[in-house]
């Protein structure tokens, strides 16, 4: 949110005879307006974080407060400004991430069309905005033969490693120690 976008706060306020002074009423209205802006910014912040997860995280940006209290005008203004700055920073990161994913999609399309031009290029699926551990890779078909013959293909690896790790290698020494 740029300063021009922020709502103008009427510090003079309107006069309400018999209730309280005009300055007090004006300040109350200003606080109310600031709280509405804070609510809007908080919703936007949550939306960016939820949509951008796990690439965009909600990193805490303010020191822990001492506890809940009723904030004054200055405190609310400071909170609004900090929150607006944070939203702006997250928007930038979300935009950069979207551009990165777009470039990755374009690269994948090119790799599909002309695999020979992208020998051994690897493109993780996370760069495409997808979950998982898969990687797109241009590899030679039939190994060395394909490499020499210029047979290149695009392959997607099978995904995340198993939680138990790879198959244990048989240890000949262990086998010898085992009672028959």
């Amino acid at each position: 949110m740029s300063p021009s976008e922020q709502l103008t706060i009427d510090r003079n306020g309107a006069s309400v005879p018999g209730v309280c002074g005009p300055a007090e009423v004006g300040e109350q209205a200003a606080r109310s307006s600031l709280r509405a802006q804070v609510a809007r910014l908080e919703r936007e912040l949550s939306a960016i974080v939820a949509e951008g997860f796990p690439h965009i995280g909600a990193v805490a940006w303010a020191p822990a407060s001492s506890g809940p209290s009723m904030l004054g005008l200055e405190e609310l203004e400071l909170l609004r400004d900090r929150l607006a700055g944070r939203v702006q920073e997250l928007r930038r990161r979300a935009q950069a991430r979207a551009e990165h994913e777009l470039r990755a999609h374009e690269l994948l399309e090119r790799m599909k069309l002309e695999p020979a031009r992208y020998k051994f290029v690897r493109l993780p699926v996370t760069d495409l905005g997808q979950r998982g551990c898969g990687v797109w890779e241009v590899r030679p078909r039939f190994g060395l033969l394909g490499m020499l013959a210029g047979w290149w293909e695009l392959k997607l690896s099978c995904g995340c490693p198993l939680p138990g790790g790879s198959r244990p290698v048989r240890d000949p020494a262990q086998r010898l120690l085992r009672p028959s």
Partner: protein, 233 residues
């Protein structure tokens, strides 16, 4: 923001259950419209201590909720209407919900870190289940230590949290849940020593904090859940 999910249906005799509205200091009410305190009294009929192990039905419910909450839920919970309303309110009272998490987000994060909702004793489990079911946090005080109706106000200069000699001092203007004579809990925070229900406590003063954007039905449901779970024989 998405629309509200279908409101929870009050089971059984919940239809006739009406929690008592607490009071709210005028300055707080004017400054934070929509803030309300709802209270209910519960008589513990379950056997065994309140801080002891939970019965199988409570354990089963926790297990079921553990299975329901997954990683995707943990991320998306901040956008759901009720948790989002508490996040906004946290900002309004000067708390950063990414540092001092809202109760529902704290519970879901714990679930992710520990791999499930671990039992913390009967009372804690019942309060947790109500929170997970509705998104509304509920706290319990020892009803015998409460004088008069509960409400929300700002603390005065030199006040202490609780009535007892070891009560910690409170800074001025801190938002607290108080009875007619003393602050008994910090709003969305810890309870005063000496007012926390003990293993043998049988009468509880339950309270829930409603903020702007949270339908009253959800708050009633949270209190009803706790009361009915504790009063079950």
């Amino acid at each position: 923001m998405s629309s509200l999910p279908p409101a929870p249906e009050p089971p059984g005799s919940a239809a006739g259950f009406r929690p008592a509205p607490g009071w709210c200091a005028r300055e707080v009410e004017e400054e934070l419209p929509g803030l309300r305190l709802l209270t209910a009294e519960a008589h513990v009929a379950r056997r065994g201590p309140l801080t002891g192990g939970s019965p199988p039905d409570v354990h089963g419910r926790l297990r079921e909720l553990s299975n329901r909450m997954r990683g995707a839920t943990a991320v998306a919970v901040r956008r759901e209407p009720v948790p989002a309303a508490y996040r906004v309110f946290f900002r309004h009272i000067g708390l950063d919900p990414d540092v001092e998490r809202t109760p529902i987000e704290a519970a879901v994060l714990e679930r992710m870190l520990r791999g499930g909702f671990l039992s913390g004793g009967l009372l804690q489990d019942v309060l947790l289940i109500a929170l997970l079911d509705t998104g509304v946090p509920v706290w319990a005080l020892d009803a015998d230590s409460v004088e008069g109706p509960l409400g929300i106000r700002a603390s005065a200069e030199g006040e202490r949290l609780g009535r007892y000699h070891d009560a910690p001092p409170l800074p001025a203007r801190r938002l607290v849940v108080a009875d007619s004579s003393a602050p008994l809990a910090v709003l969305f925070g810890g309870l005063a020593p000496g007012h926390i229900p003990l293993a043998g406590t049988r009468r509880l003063a339950l309270y829930a904090v409603q903020v702007a954007g949270v339908p009253e039905l959800y708050v009633e449901e949270a209190l009803w859940n706790c009361r009915s779970a504790l009063e079950l024989r």
